[in-house]
Subunit: 99 residues, 2 copies
Amino acid sequence: MSEVFKALADPTRRRVLQLLRERPMTAGELAGHFSSSKATLSAHFSVLREAGLVAADKRGVTITYSLRLSVLEDALLAFAETFGIGLAGAGALKEESGR
Amino acid sequence: MSEVFKALADPTRRRVLQLLRERPMTAGELAGHFSSSKATLSAHFSVLREAGLVAADKRGVTITYSLRLSVLEDALLAFAETFGIGLAGAGALKEESGR
DNA sequence: CTCATATTTCGGTATTTAGCTAAATATCGA
DNA sequence: TCGATATTTAGCTAAATACCGAAATATGAG
């Protein structure tokens, strides 16, 4: 739980997740959207990976990252629930992910 | 946004929010629930205050902290929305806070 | 005014984090 | 095998964070 929130606390990482919302992208492709060095971005990917928020798929020499929306969703849901904040919309999401 | 997630990234601070969910509590009362020093807790309160997640009400020599649920709610909602995670339950919450 | 109480601020240390460049690793094509 | 490409790892610095004990601040009681 802490790891997810820690990952979300950085704007760069949140933007990475946003980019991956559209489609999976390679590390280099993602890095192209930022001004930081690739090494720095790589560290951000690592944080996201360890939080379980992205999946890394190595294909040849490139690594494609994809968003693991369910992990993000579950974390937010679990946390919000303890505060009585119902996230009813998650149901609709579940349907969508089920197709 | 970053400040809210950063505040939520620490287990102690999340527990403080949980405690405040029941009722407002003074700084000392809150500190009694943790093994860290009061100085350390005070710093945590400061982070929560700066993130807007709690309100501090100074009454005489004691400071009573209370949860600002709407801020937490709005932050989670806004973020979740950008990921297509609808938080329909927030509507019901709004009604509740309206009484 | 003085004392006790509640809380924060100060000064310090240790750990973590974000960033960089340079070097290492791995894979592909010729 | 050699070279090019994609990505990570290593080594470093600067800034931020968490923690402590001690000192400062503010208030209310007497």
